[in-house]
Amino acid sequence: MAFVVSFIILFVFWMFLSGRFDYFHLSLGIISCAIVAHASHDLLFKDIRAKNRHIEVIRFIKYLPWLFYQIVLANIHVAYLVLHPRTLKLIDPHIIRFKTGLRKDLSLVTFGNSITLTPGTITVLIKEGHYYVHAIDRFVAEGLPGDMEKMVGHIYMED
């Protein structure tokens, strides 16, 4: 099962990248995709038998527009800070620490990347269930962890 799914994904990706649809290139693709899928199928889909995987994918895709909106906000925020004539007075960077309720690796990674991409905060370290986040000023530091942790937990069904 994992072999078939990874073979299909790899082969579609092969066709995108090669762009040639004659027998020679397609058969080359089949051979190399079969070798790679055989070698790495247990790597790509470690827990494919986990239930409701498709719900996670759909929820993740729903999460992406909100994340992109946050990225635009973050960039405007950074641009404002950078182009302000008195940058050093405006910023007040420090590191904050908070405990997280998330447990799965994938949700920890998603939450860490989301923190990095939202305004004024970047993840420095995840250690023993605590996030260490560098915040550029006090205002954004007080907003953490906020709704985002709940959203990420909702995606990976940890609520």
Partner: protein, 119 residues
């Protein structure tokens, strides 16, 4: 279509430029990563989207569509990899014991954090 491509490209250039200016103006390593980690992500994604649109200007042939798809794939991988790379660089800075810059020169929390177990 080329107008939209020009708009996307100039917005991407603007965010790259703010990333570089922020890199020069911010006081320490950690806050510099704020400028570069975010500006690069949006800048690169916007520029790649602009290039994909500009490439489609020559008509919707199969070759053009494939090239645009490849450009968008680069954007997706960039979007996944850049925050992770930012985190990896910051982790390296933490491991080498770099203190973050603060206004009064004191860390707000205990830094570097002591762990309950030795790691």
């Amino acid at each position: 279509m080329s107008i939209a491509a020009i708009l996307l490209l100039s917005a991407g250039t603007f965010f790259f430029a703010t990333g570089v200016i922020g890199f020069l103006r911010f006081p320490d390593f950690y806050s510099r990563m704020h400028a570069t980690g975010k500006g690069d992500t949006l800048g690169a994604v916007l520029m790649l989207a602009g290039l994909a649109l500009y490439n489609l200007d020559g008509g919707f042939s199969l070759g053009n569509l494939l090239v645009s798809m490849k450009l968008l794939f680069i954007g997706v991988f960039w979007f996944l990899a850049n925050p992770t790379a930012t985190h990896a660089i910051l982790r390296a800075a933490f491991d080498s014991g770099l203190m973050p810059w603060t206004k009064d020169g004191k860390p707000v929390i205990e830094w570097p954090p002591k762990s309950q177990e030795d790691t």
